[in-house]
Amino acid sequence: MKIIACIKQVPDSEAKVKAEGGQVTWGDAPLVINPFDEYAVEGALQQKEALGGTVTALCIGPESAREALKHALAMGADEAILVSDPALTSLDSVGAARILAAAIKKVGDADLVIFGRQTLDDGSGVTGAQTARVLGWPLLSLAGSIKVDAGSVTVERVIEEGRQSVSAKMPLVLSVVQSIGEPRYPSFMGIRKASKATIPAWSLSDLGASAPAPIVTRTELMNPPSKEIVCEFITGDAPEIIGETLADKILAEKVL
């Protein structure tokens, strides 16, 4: 089994992200592997353990994104590849999908390509589906569990209405959700291995691709309107009195 886990680097979820001078800034908060993508790496490692094979972590990003790839290596991925090119700074999701598809083909012979559900930055959650479409491969999305059997994959999808079991033939693209299992912590040995690993960087010319023209573009960046909320604390001598007062306050707001 050859498994590719597609990951992205994003500002840490604790970061105070702001719009400043037309740019998104996050102060000195660290850049980390997208938390949803840790589940993709975890899902990939589970399949490797069950069936043998290798896990390749793949990331489009600047040089700094090597750190996210090192995290995947430290978790247990066998190799990591960075796709990095100065012409790739304003990729939209379709563009990212086309570049990832080219990189997946260059890696070659992949059976499974696994994505996280979405990223913490853009949050569109569409790149996995678009990569599958560009490749012409089946997509099994939002998998909470994965079962591979004789060239065929069956997943339990977690959707609004419950759980749905869907199957397809490999090679295919998967996206996973949290119920796949908590991502393992990098082991001491893993961290050592990751720190010594050589991570190749592929440019657009390595992929034989040109920079996709961005179709979706940003025209403005704003901070959310700051709401001046002053909390009115409800007090009373007994829970019943507080409950009564609070109910009146809520009903007076006429939101129900």
């Binding site: 998104v24 930055d121 397809a168 409950g243």
Partner: protein
């Protein structure tokens, strides 16, 4: 502007935000609803009642189960035969995929989970939260047709006009399936937090009721889960009285108190209900970004310094195991339930 509006449904049960998308399309010009599935003419008729100018219906055994690739191909073919300016979808697990795939087919792009939209001629400028709502962006699609999915409860829902009729035109389904649906189970009561007008959420604090004694023989973790169940029962009771859904913080989900589908926040669901009641939730930033756009936020927590109170209009510093039942009783009485 001419828009197509995809009416998203699961086994004939329409995601209500579909009607919000239809209302938005109507406000921009011509609005043609599209319905895919098998034996779903009733959905097409309802779309007319919600104001669709006409409905394009692909009713075919090949579309019985939603599958991204067949639905996207059917959509792409339909768009190619009569291209609109805009295609609107409610944001759901299905539409994120089919819109994204169809956009690939047609060499266009998709504006995902938008919360605002303005028209500029036949172009649209969408507003959408990024970085889980910490920042907003305005974004455009420089190709045609433009695809956009709308976040539930951010655009007005049009009124349903019973008996309104119109033209339903059959269109062809594409049967290029690569996947097979093997089964479906509605496991736990399916929660749809996105569409809920009221959400009552529980956090780590719901497992801390000191006055409860767990049944004998439980180890520490079992006792904690047992306590959490009792706590969430109180949360659910208030939610039921208010006609709302049960939410949870990540701490509660990670603790195993309740399933992930209930999680509100950065790695869960971002919600905009009319009323959000946070119980025993301290208010980590990851949770707050998921609920702070609720119209009215109420927090109950024993810690007066909990950050959740900074987002709340009303707060109670106290024991949620006493306050919550008292609020439920008062609401029941006042709402005549």
């Amino acid at each position: 502007m001419k828009s197509l509006v995809y009416i998203d449904h699961f086994k004939g049960e329409v995601q209500p935000a579909s009607w919000e998308a239809l209302g938005l399309a109507k406000s921009l010009g011509a609005a043609i609803a599209i319905v895919f599935g098998r034996d779903v003419e009733a959905v097409a008729k309802t779309a007319l009642e919600y104001g669709a100018d006409e409905v394009l219906l692909a009713d075919d055994p090949a579309l019985e189960d939603y599958r991204g690739e067949t639905y996207a191909s059917t959509l792409s073919a339909l768009i190619a035969s009569s291209p609109p300016d805009l295609i609107l979808f409610p944001t759901t697990t299905r539409t994120r995929e089919m819109a994204a795939m169809s956009a690939v087919d047609l060499n266009s792009g998709v504006l995902v989970d938008i919360t605002g939209l303005e028209a500029d001629g036949d172009k649209v400028i969408a507003t959408r939260p990024i970085y889980e709502g910490k920042v907003l962006e305005k974004t455009i699609c420089n190709a045609k047709p433009q695809f956009a999915t709308i976040r539930a409860r951010n655009f007005p829902k049009p009124a349903q006009e019973a008996g309104r009729t119109g033209t339903i035109t059959k269109v062809e389904a594409k049967a290029d399936a690569l996947t097979k649906v093997e089964g479906y189970s509605a496991t736990e009561a399916a929660v749809n937090l996105g569409d809920a007008s009221v959400i009552v959420s529980g956090g780590r604090g719901v497992s801390n009721n000191p006055s409860l004694t767990p049944p004998a023989g439980m180890d520490e973790k079992q006792a904690e889960l047992w306590r959490a169940q009792q706590g969430f029962a109180l949360v659910a009771e208030l939610a039921t009285v208010l006609g709302g859904a049960v939410g949870a913080s990540r701490a509660a989900v990670d603790g195993g108190y309740i399933s992930y589908s209930h999680q509100v926040g950065q790695t869960g669901k971002v919600v905009t209900p009319d009323l959000y009641i946070a119980c025993g939730i301290s208010g980590a930033i990851q949770h707050l970004v998921g609920m702070r756009n609720a119209k009215l936020i109420v927090a109950i927590n024993k810690d007066a310094d909990a950050p959740v109170f900074k987002q709340a209009r009303y707060g109670v510093v106290g024991d949620l195991f006493q306050i919550l039942p008292a609020l439920t009783v008062a609401m029941k009485k006042k709402l005549g339930k």
